[in-house]
Symmetry: C2
């Protein structure tokens, strides 16, 4: 076997791809074909279909409404979902006369910190995986889980089987990491909102990270990890044999040189308005600190000075965190500010592209396109490769369509 | 806290006792009451309700009819059932403001040999369990599972959560092991067959082992283990607060001195008849060796010499193994014997009692009671504390009732 032929490929299959025995058998065949074509194949699987949600519901049932389930127990409970799918996948591969072995996160050498529910991978000891690969086996690793220093099972957070796959690819110096899912790639924008959305052949890590953080269906942490270790990531359809999208950090091809690569859409944004804030240094930071402590990400922040010497400031958070964020801020009312109110349900529409950092005029094009579509801009925030406008939720489709047209994203190079 | 008050109790709850969130909450309350009364409580749980059977069905679905699922993968798959029930139990206890922690077999220090599907416990390192108990926690151990030397998960066989519980009780020098289940104790015989069956207050290990091997609802290996380590075992109802049956090895009380303690019934017996066996040493043993190699227990064996210088022999196996046993024996047809046939569906009815070993006449009483009930005896086998008759399956009720009357088992001392 030539050196090139024996390179490692890491594949990841999401929960909807392994939701039935039939689907597991279909994927097993795909994996066998790949192994027989000369690759050393490592596969990560998510839990079957809705099984994680079912386990969470059970946990809430036994715990009752007064208390939340212990995160330590929840991690062991939820880790069983991936143990089930990974052992079933190994069995399905066996029945096709290909040797295979399933490994739990622990057996795969995945060590994490002890933050139950959102642990970070600290290290991967690849000894056992490599030994199994050397024995000619396909290795199926239970995604989403690891072991902390005390020997307790941890999980990496929802959607983190992507992270397991990319981390394994990095640790094994894999040729690439392939994420198979129920969409067939990364689109210029959400095709359900803008029918003209076009699938990208490739996208850079930074752009993908912006897109992922802004609602595209990938775990942002996995993209960060891929960028740090330079792991090429293919996002493709599990069951449709069509080309996917390659996320990489190599030399930009023609397509990557396009200034704006995609439009990210996030409908789940709420605004909180804090009025009558004392105008002295550190007050605003003090008001937001409890949110940071509670793990709530504050997104866009805008501050205006009022006539009376105090300032108002406005910020957005994800809708799921909205009520909790408002409650946390209100605890400081009357001490640090006059009042805090729910500013309503909004949405974020962003243009993303590495080309933007070297050229002017993108903001102007964006604003005039939105104005032309009759969309009012509530707030604006930018990064080096992104411009985000906060708009009212009912304007999302008009805004995304106008921007898709203005930056000619429907046209392939 | 006095020394007596802080002794360890090990409890085990079977699958039907933890089949719903509601039942888990009810048991959690029972466990908390026990912990608050001053005991150090270790609990072993089986998988919820039918979840093990559902996982087996899934495994067969992905594997297809041509092959059997790998035992190594099956063990990890099935071990998840007990991880689910043990973490849920810990959460339910937490919600009652009692500290608790779930431990997998591995975390509980249970090491086994590497016989997947029917592993034996090699050792238990109790360090972590003791540390958790010292911290004031109830410890919930996932039953049925352990870890072998290579770091792979093993299981101890169906019904082996009993074995986990007794082994933990032995390793922790527990005051006693309590097996909670959907029956409220050990009866003189199966109450569904003989309405006059009476619950025993106590039974000796040896008698219980015979009863368990002969169909009573306990894992025989757990009784062996209890006998070896002298662990008193209480079998009682999970949800009904009535006295159970204590299995122990202490001085026999009045009840234990009764000669015959119970009638064991096993309806699932089939007979295999091998005719025209060459009459030279070792031939019969040679015919049965493949069954032993396949893990099939041969029970009663009867041999008769025919007129033509060959012998016939007849043996019984459990019904589940019947077809496989016949197939294995038939492979040697024409070499070692003339023909082998299915001898039909039968049943075993046994009288069990330690008192029998010191007195004559029990066999005579048994045979005359069966004759009086018009029950024909097909085959007979005995041990020191047991006499077993093989009868036709339709005679089971008549046989058991006649024996229950003849040995006056309906009358308490």
């Amino acid at each position: 076997m030539s050196e090139a032929a024996s390179s490692v490929v890491v594949q990841k299959y999401g929960g909807s791809s392994v939701s039935t025995a039939e689907k597991i058998r279909t994927i097993a065949k795909k994996i066998c074909d790949r192994a027989r074509s000369g690759h050393r194949v490592v596969v990560t699987v998510s839990a079957m279909g809705d099984s994680t949600d079912e386990l969470i519901a059970l946990a809430n049932d036994v715990t009752g409404p007064r208390t939340s389930p212990s995160l330590r127990e929840m991690d062991t409970l939820l880790s069983t979902g991936e143990l089930v799918s990974s052992t079933l996948m190994a069995m399905a591969i066996h029945s096709l006369d290909q040797d295979a072995v399933s490994l739990s996160g622990q057996q795969a050498g995945i060590r994490t910190n002890a933050i139950h529910g959102s642990a970070r991978i600290a290290s991967i000891d690849t000894a056992r995986i490599l030994r199994e690969l050397d024995s000619g086996r396909v290795v199926i690793v239970a995604g989403f889980q690891g072991l902390d220093e005390t020997g307790d099972v941890t999980t990496l957070g929802r959607g983190a089987s992507d992270t397991t796959a990319v981390a394994l690819a990095a640790a094994l110096s894999a040729e690439r990491c392939e994420i198979y899912t129920d969409v067939d790639g990364i689109y210029t924008t959400d095709p359900r909102i803008v029918p003209g959305a076009r699938k990208l052949q490739e996208i850079g890590y930074e752009e993908m990270l912006e897109m992922a953080s802004l609602g595209a269906k990938m775990n942002p942490r996995s993209i960060e990890l891929a960028a740090v270790y330079g792991v090429p990531v293919l996002v493709a359809s599990t069951f449709d044999d069509v080309p996917g999208t390659l996320i990489h950090g190599g030399e930009p091809t023609m397509e990557l040189r396009r200034a704006v690569t995609g439009i990210a859409i996030d409908r789940n944004v709420v605004k909180i308005i804090v009025r009558g804030v004392e105008d002295r240094p550190g007050v605003a930071a003090g008001i937001l600190q409890p949110l940071a402590d509670a793990g709530i990400s504050v997104d866009v922040i805008v501050q205006n000075t009022s006539d009376d010497g105090t300032t108002d400031f406005t910020f957005t958070v994800g809708e799921a965190d909205g009520q909790r964020a408002l409650d946390l801020v209100k605890r400081q009312q009357d001490v640090a500010f006059r009042d805090a109110t729910d500013g309503g349900e909004l949405a974020k529409v962003s243009i993303v592209g590495t080309g933007m950092q070297n050229g002017p005029g993108y903001a102007a094009t964006m604003f005039s396109a939105l104005a032309g579509a009759g969309v009012n801009i509530d707030m604006i925030t930018t990064s080096e490769i992104r411009i985000t406008c906060i708009v009212s939720r009912e304007d999302v489709t008009a805004a995304a369509s106008a921007l898709h047209d203005a930056f000619e994203l429907d046209r392939a190079e």
